[in-house]
């Protein structure tokens, strides 16, 4: 073990006990499906900020953002700055989120039904759940890798450790739904934030700002500070990330569910504006940890794996006592993400994919039972797919495909649904099909065919093109569908 002592283990154990007890205790307040899925729409501003921030920062986020810092320097934090701008503007103007929350729906596909019909609702639900669950499928193993590297634990116990953690999270999520998620997110936000702030001050004290800046200058030159001068980034990277992060702010179910659970539209918008700057910290703080790893570790210690450099560095410089706080903070980050993701993807399965099977309104007890069963099944899926099944290939590509399949089409559908009267089911169907097929085609062309190098080099250009083509599919598809007015066909 690195600096992980009995004291650290006690801190982690106490934290886990308090979280589980709090999560299970609130189950008695769940009486209806609406309580379970959106906390009875009683969530207020500060609880919303804590919950959104805790949900959107998991160990997997920490790993990739730190890797961005390691590989790209400070410029690697640009996606965080872009997310901040997107979330602040969406919250401030109410773009899409105001009509969405005003409509009183539980999920985005439910809103789509009002404009595009039940088939599009169902198809949207399928795309959202597929993209979301496959995306989440890699969280457990990546989280386990981090904990093993930081604490120096025997990797043979990774599966058992993460299985126990998932069971604990699943128990309180199944019992208390969104209420348990919100209460535990609150505790997890405090623990996670305290750990992140303390460790960042420790790194700034031990490594020093000048060393961090000089390391970035030496390894990345001016491109380590300016994304437009970075040879792995450039304009297309910035534009693609602006589109990707705006789409996520508008439609990523775990983010939008905070707006939908808010007690009113104004509170939902304030949750977005109030949390927006967190997304700069979400990229910059682990990014600095990644830069510190580049400064502190030797090439032998890095061993060609930039993803694991940051946890290795933390394992070396974080002292005993503080290590317990850091591990508890990262467990908090992972647990809040897992619980929220299980609940929100489960809510789409129940609310949208199962909608055709609910011809009449189900009794609340039956609805609750089904929701709980769905979360349990998602937990089993995560366990088998994410932990015991070893993913082949590279993780970035995997996350890219699962994210873009969902985000490009759903963001276009949401904007058209809210602001374009002429939008209809043909356009929506075309956008969903193109949104799903184009990322898969791009990735296939990166592996086979005569232009593999071009597609690999211009992956962000292809990403931008996907969003443009999906928007065009919506426009052309909608314009092609004949319109009917008072029984008279018009074109």
């Amino acid at each position: 073990m690195n600096n992980f002592t009995f004291v650290d283990g006690s801190i982690v154990g106490l934290y886990l006990l308090v979280t589980m007890v709090a999560g299970v205790m609130v189950r008695k307040y769940v009486g209806k499906v609406e309580d379970f899925l959106v906390a009875g729409r009683e969530m207020n501003l500060y609880l919303g900020i804590a919950s959104l921030a805790a949900t959107e920062f998991g160990i997997v986020t920490c790993m990739y953002t730190a890797q961005n810092g390691f590989d790209k320097g400070f410029a690697g934090a640009i996606p965080g700055v872009l997310t901040f701008l997107a979330m602040f503007l969406v919250g401030y103007t109410g773009f899409c989120v105001k009509p969405l929350r005003d409509s009183g729906v539980i999920t985005i596909p439910e809103l789509f039904e009002k404009k595009f019909g039940p088939r599009i609702r169902w198809a949207s639900g399928v795309v959202i759940v597929l993209g979301g669950l496959l995306n989440m499928g890699v969280f457990l193993r990546t989280g386990g890798d981090f904990l093993v590297n930081i604490s120096g634990m025997n990797p043979d116990y990774l599966e058992e450790m993460m299985t126990l953690l998932l069971i604990g999270v699943a128990v309180y999520t199944i019992l208390g739904g969104m209420l348990s998620v919100l209460v535990t997110d609150y505790l997890q936000f405090i623990m996670m934030s305290t750990g992140m702030i303390v460790v960042t001050f420790l790194i700034l004290d031990q490594v020093g700002w000048s060393t961090l800046v000089n390391t970035v200058q030496t390894h990345h030159g001016e491109g380590g500070f300016n994304p437009l001068k970075n040879k792995t980034m450039g304009w297309s990277y910035v534009i693609f990330n602006a589109l990707l992060n705006t789409a996520a702010v508008l439609t990523w179910q775990t983010q939008i569910s905070r707006v939908l659970a808010a007690k009113d539209t104004a509170t939902g918008r304030k949750v977005y504006t109030g949390t927006s700057f967190f997304f700069v910290a979400r990229f910059l703080i682990p990014g600095i940890w990644g830069i510190a790893a580049l400064a502190v570790l030797t090439p032998d210690q890095i061993d060609g794996n930039s993803l694991l450099a940051m946890p290795k560095m933390l394992g070396l410089i974080v002292p005993a006592g503080l290590m317990g706080l850091l591990v508890a903070a990262m467990l908090a980050a992972d647990m809040s993400t897992d619980s929220s993701y299980m609940l929100t993807w489960g809510s789409v399965i129940y609310n949208d994919i199962m909608a055709p099977f609910r011809k009449s309104k189900w009794p609340e007890k039956k609805g609750l039972l089904w929701n709980r069963a769905i979360i349990a099944v998602i937990g089993v899926f995560l366990l088998i797919y994410g932990l015991w099944y070893k993913l082949e290939g590279d993780l970035w590509t995997y996350l890219g495909i699962t994210g873009t399949i969902y985000l490009s089409s759903m963001s276009v559908l949401l904007i058209a649904c809210c602001y374009w009267k002429r939008a209809n089911s043909w356009g929506a169907g075309a956008a969903i099909v193109f949104g799903a097929l184009l990322p898969i085609a791009t990735l296939t062309l990166q592996k086979i065919g005569p232009y593999t190098d071009w597609f690999k080099k211009n992956d962000t250009v292809c990403g931008v093109a996907v969003y443009v083509i999906v928007a065009l599919a919506m426009i052309i598809g909608s314009l092609l569908k004949p319109q009917f007015q008072k029984g008279v066909r018009t074109f």
Binding site: V26, Y29, G31, D35, A39, G40, E42, M43, N44, L45, Y46, L47, I49, A50, F74, A77, V81, L179, L182, V183, Y186, F189, I190, S193, T194, M196, I197, T200, F201, L204, W209, S210, V213, F225, F277, F278, V280, A281, L284, I285, I288
Partner: protein, 53 residues
Amino acid sequence: MIDGIINMLQNHWFWGFLTLACLIWYSTVTIYVAIKGASDIRNMLRRLSGAKE
């Protein structure tokens, strides 16, 4: 401490300023949300138990 902050603002001021802003904002929000969030939870559970009765 003061020297460190001046160094951050002089040495690549944009990223130095952004890092300082993150740390100050994040520390403040954590304390503020910890206090106000507890009150939000109490109110939420009170309203939900009221609605059930």
